[in-house]
Symmetry: C2
Subunit: 339 residues, 2 copies
Amino acid sequence: MATMQQVADRAGVSIATVSFVVNGTKYVTPATTARVRTAMRELKFRGNVVARALASRRTRIIALLFPTTGNRFSPTTSEFFMSAAERASERGYHLVLWPVDPAGDDLDDLVSGGLVDGVILMEVRMDDPRVAVLSALEVPFTLIGRTRDSADLPFVDIDFETTIEHSVDHLESLGHRRLALVLEDLGGTPMAGYAPHIRTESTFRSTVAERGLAGTVVYAGTGSEGGQTAAADILVADPDVTAVLVMKDDAAGGLLVGLYAAGRSVPDDVSVLSIASSARNADQHHPRLDTMIAPSVELGTRAADALIDQLDGGPDELPHFLLPCTLRRAESTAVAPLR
Amino acid sequence: MATMQQVADRAGVSIATVSFVVNGTKYVTPATTARVRTAMRELKFRGNVVARALASRRTRIIALLFPTTGNRFSPTTSEFFMSAAERASERGYHLVLWPVDPAGDDLDDLVSGGLVDGVILMEVRMDDPRVAVLSALEVPFTLIGRTRDSADLPFVDIDFETTIEHSVDHLESLGHRRLALVLEDLGGTPMAGYAPHIRTESTFRSTVAERGLAGTVVYAGTGSEGGQTAAADILVADPDVTAVLVMKDDAAGGLLVGLYAAGRSVPDDVSVLSIASSARNADQHHPRLDTMIAPSVELGTRAADALIDQLDGGPDELPHFLLPCTLRRAESTAVAPLR
DNA sequence: CTGAAAGCGCTAACAA
DNA sequence: TTGTTAGCGCTTTCAG
């Protein structure tokens, strides 16, 4: 692996000059530039990222922190990640996905010594311990999500409040007055306090209260069984329910099964609206469900931008970017769910 | 951010001594060790990974390379990633997921200068250009997957050959003699030549041929529609088919719908076996499908081990580790699929 | 416009 | 057992 010094020797210039042409830091005459470039090519010079990082204090690498706990990597997560990575790449950065303890304990060695220039946090909890750690470490960071009080934190997030209101609007416009909400059960896990759930649940409760609607909330376990149990739970709590919001992708199918098993057909007896899901996930269902699709790509892109702006000294107001999910109606005609 | 020199000064020792206690490189008396540790604590010394990497030529970071193309991050992928990360962590390494161009073009700057000590490749194609790049770069690497000729490459992989034979065994034992295989359609994409498909298809063809069975192969598009179309295609090609293998998770549901739409009930008329899927994915289905579950966790762990052995100078034979999927039978009684 | 040289923070001989 | 010191490969003033 050729070093910069070797390139310099070969081109008959100083190492500083090579550095200048490599980084475009200073003007170098076309003639010397050419000589240097030739030497670089001949020696297959690639540059040493680590040495550069040590000298310049930047690596042009940013990390997306992902909790090691649970197996929470969904298609939606994937969209956040991929879109953020793409944007980072466009702006001359590399984005890596870094699994870290949800408590933030192993954050130090990652970040200390400038291995990464900044980080994006996702799967944020209302009182996420990682933000304190990151602040203490003085690492530039941006959230995909919001803590309880994110007023002076840079973030992009799904606008769950608006999403839920729109969802209820939609269902109300269909004539529904008795709703239910299915959430994942995170109690007792390290992901307890997961902000999207808290916000969704409280917005749901307040919205139905304001509008004088009935609103039941149940927590679902995993997979088809989780959904089936949730359906049963809902019907116990409110036998007259006519619409349910599900924010748990892997249980959505089971929910239909459960409803049908209890003699309800979808959407004739009960409307089901899947929320904060991805198109890719929704497309697996048949019959299609009405779905509030998460703006993951847009948010991933924005998150990368927010962080990189911070690093490169772009606009300096705190980014507080919220985007609601958008409704995608199932176009197919009514179909009975599973028997 | 305190430097090692500052710690040394504070503890009244030389910087070398601090380095020794930090890395456990040499014996240091308990007394001095204590002084150093105290100083480190007082100064909140964290150590500079970049400087250490430059001096020692190792970062203790390994990367799992993931193609930027397509949105191929499945629950199975997630299991590979998480388990490899966990194993790496146990062995004192960090594992990051690095999105790179499937052609391997942007591999240089990642790897040059020893930003990562080694890499694990996944989503491997039969003639994957990335292995040439990696070899040229002289970076230690391990594959999750196999190229056409991996005889002298370190790899761990699903044993697709055995998996398919077991699948056919299973179906044959159920009395089926007319089979079909559903694969993802990757033609024309950068992922064309994806090794699992090639191996699965060719093993399937040769196996049915040897045993004198009928074997139809169809390629499915995405989501429920993809599966429905695949079902129709199969029935055109072989109206008497009685068993189908699906290696496309998101289309499995649609396949059932399609079969049912064509008047076939599952599993009475047609048996469906989902292959190389994950438990998490399979659990979403209702009715449950018989599933050949991929040994992702075991393989992710092995991959990390193989790479780290290589790095730390463990056993030096080339790891060639193959594990077949294991059959998980749907316990539920027969149910009609979607209507 | 180009070069000299002082670091960046740490590791690892080699000495003592 | 601990200290000295020469790098690791590159960036970046500061001169010239």
